[in-house]
């Protein structure tokens, strides 16, 4: 009797597994805004090699666009005024304080409305976010990895979602204009869970970083976790050695 019961359970389990295998498994992603109204986002420019950027993109590279006035140790602030969502788009109205080195932000420099299609597969094949610096967006709908993965991006992009949502960009020499850039340029853009650019590195061959920008977001949790990890590790080693010596 027992064997029969076991057989029944096994059969049910196998049936369950096989039914699952044939069942529909298309779960549509519902993309959303990861940022909220009144969010303040600040990016720090940890490194900007002006001379190298001049050599790569010409001397006017930081006179317009999101990299206007970019320099080492400068900061840029975004303040989210409004986020909107309708059946086809996700958008956000944002006040921007462009790159500056002073602590006092003063009045905003401009405001912009950024929009994304809710269905990323509707973007045309070979889509480029922009054909000028920085080549990548500073925020994206969430979940970012899936959103990027569903867009049929242009050849310059390579999405790597294995660990952190990452957008790799390769801009070939002379691909923007003749002699711009003057050599191959690479970008690694990493996004956080809210779809906000957390790290941007523009580098040339040999991994020589020319621009390094990061989101100002060292939360207490990050600091606490790091210190906790190191302390726990050191204590464990000390305790283990002590225990072994006593034995």
């Amino acid at each position: 009797m027992k064997i029969k019961k076991r057989d029944i359970y096994t059969s049910i389990m196998l049936l369950f597994l096989f039914t699952l295998s044939f069942s529909s498994n298309v779960i549509a992603n519902e993309y959303q805004n990861g940022i909220k109204t009144s969010d303040e986002l600040i990016w720090n420019c940890n490194l900007c090699d002006d001379n190298k950027m001049d050599a790569l993109f010409g001397e006017f590279w930081n006179e317009a666009g999101i990299f206007k006035d970019l320099s080492s140790n400068s900061r840029m602030k975004w303040s989210v005024n409004m986020v909107e969502e309708n059946s086809t788009t996700l958008s956000a109205l944002i006040s921007i304080w462009m790159w500056m080195s002073e602590d006092n932000w003063g009045t905003q420099d401009n405001s912009s409305k950024f929009s994304y299609l809710k269905n990323p597969s509707l973007y045309p094949s070979g889509f480029n976010f922009t054909n000028m610096l920085p080549f990548i967006p500073f925020w994206l709908p969430v979940p970012v990895g899936e959103y990027l993965g569903e867009i049929s991006l242009g050849d310059i992009y390579d999405v790597d979602n294995r660990v952190l949502p990452t957008l790799n960009v390769r801009i070939n020499k002379d691909s923007i204009h003749p002699n711009e850039p003057t050599e191959n340029v690479y970008i690694i853009a990493v996004y956080d869970n809210n779809g906000i650019l957390s790290s941007f590195k523009l580098y040339t061959s040999g991994n020589v970083v020319v621009v390094d920008i990061s989101l100002e977001s060292f939360s207490i949790l990050v600091i606490f976790s790091t210190v906790g990890l190191l302390l726990a590790f050191v204590c464990s080693i000390v305790l283990y050695i002590k225990k072994k010596r006593i034995n």
Binding site: L20, I27, G149, N161, T166, I188, G206, F233
Partner: protein, 424 residues
């Protein structure tokens, strides 16, 4: 031996294992892992796992082999030798969901076979001072089966168990059969595992039957066995190069995706030393060449492991230590060492534990490392996600790999083991 007799012996041995409560729990845990991974696969990870890549690679291998490394075809990069895709052709004919389920069921049965091979090897190499009953062996086999890295292996639909199976099969052959034809077969099996996934690539140098006798200052080489083993392991690997010769694009794409492209740069929680170094350079904007870092560290750590092996003072069952050191070198030096790769290491650690003297001090290096890798390493993956903005180094796994490397090289090199060990 007729196949039916083999099956009966396997069945009887499993019945013997089943009498131990811990083994029954281990099987239940394995079944739980399989069911959990299947549920997670169908609910959340249907198109977000490694099996998608293997499945696609099998299809592309048949239909458009020149684009095997065209990463636009994959969710994540396909990085293995081209012939590895050959193994997935049968799965690519099936419905994707069904292929995943069958693949994981196959993984489950592979685990049973791996357990039996571990048992067979341990019985043969177990130190004289160990307990004569099999209880402790079954306990460790059960611990292996309960290992947390299995969860990720099942969830991702990964192929590590094929590698472990091949490694143990070749080890078993080398330990039990000394004739040349068996040496060839053992090394061919290892070569096939390298095709599937190059995790066992650094086991190749340890196939050489070579030893420098410190007392007589003489180098001893079993030339014929070494050559046969090298030929055996290289035959399957070189078949890939035949493909590279026919399709040169495959070669350049293979190099780019593995060594020179953007992939090795990406910040991640790999616990390899190479990754820790590249993460450090990335974090502090230090210019680096990932290939040079890889070569230097392989030279340093690989050299340390290999020369310790050649200079070994203990020759009995030395291939076990060679294999273990080979896997440690790979985990320490290749860019990406993930939690599920540890399934290639933990069975070898268990075998090592049983080969070392029961009360050897060296066990103090091996055992904690085994338990860390089998149960706790995954925690530090989670911790990495908390700390990476400030501290992007999953260093604890690398630490335990170094502890292992130190313990094993010490075992191979020291003249006299400590008092506690010397009497054993």
């Amino acid at each position: 031996m007729p196949l039916t007799v083999l099956f009966i012996r396997i069945f009887n041995k499993l019945k013997e294992f089943w009498n131990e409560r811990i083994f029954r729990y281990a099987i239940l845990v394995q079944i739980f892992y399989v069911i959990l991974s299947t549920i997670l696969f169908f609910l959340f990870l249907y198109q977000k796992n490694d099996f998608v890549i293997f499945y696609e690679s099998g299809r592309i291998f048949l239909t458009d082999i020149e684009n095997l490394y065209n990463q636009a075809n994959y969710l994540w990069d396909f990085r293995y030798f081209p012939l590895s895709a050959f193994f997935f052709i049968p799965f690519s004919f099936l419905d994707f969901g069904l292929a995943f389920v069958l693949f994981n069921v196959l993984n489950f049965f592979l685990n049973i076979l791996i357990s039996l091979m571990m048992y067979k090897i341990i019985k043969a190499i177990r130190g004289a001072d160990h307990e004569t009953s099999d209880k402790r062996i079954i306990l460790y086999i059960s611990l292996y089966l309960m290992g947390v890295p299995h969860i990720l292996n099942y969830i991702y639909g990964q192929i590590n168990l094929f590698i472990t199976f091949s490694i143990l099969a070749s080890l078993l052959i080398f330990l039990f059969y000394k004739k040349i034809k068996w040496q060839l077969l053992g090394s061919i099996i290892l070569g096939i595992s390298i095709i599937i996934k190059p995790t066992s690539f650094f086991l190749i140098p340890f196939l050489l039957v070579i030893r420098f006798d410190m007392s007589t200052k003489k180098l001893k080489i079993d030339f014929s066995t070494s050559v046969v083993r090298l030929i055996g392991v290289l035959i399957p690997v070189l078949l890939n190069f035949a493909l590279f010769a026919v399709y040169p694009k495959l070669w350049s794409d293979f190099l780019s995706t593995n060594f020179t492209g953007s992939n090795p740069l990406a910040l991640n929680f790999s616990f390899s030393l190479t990754k820790l170094v590249t993460n450090f350079c990335y974090f502090f904007n230090i210019p680096f060449n990932q290939l040079i870092i890889l070569i230097v560290l392989v030279g340093f750590i690989g050299g340390l492991g290999f020369f310790s092996y050649i200079l070994r003072r203990r020759d009995s069952n030395s291939i076990i230590y060679g294999y273990t050191i080979g896997i440690i070198i790979m985990l320490l030096t290749y860019f990406d060492s993930w939690d599920h790769h540890l399934l290639n290491l933990t069975p070898l650690l268990i075998i090592t534990i049983f080969n070392l003297p029961r009360r050897a001090k060296l066990i103090d290096y091996i055992k904690p490392s085994f338990f860390f890798f089998n149960f706790f390493d995954i925690i530090f993956v989670g911790v990495w996600f908390l700390t990476y903005p400030l501290f992007p180094y999953n260093f604890v796994g690398a630490f335990f790999l170094f502890v292992l490397l130190y313990g094993l090289t010490r075992y191979l090199l020291v003249k006299r083991l400590k008092t506690d060990e010397a009497k054993l």
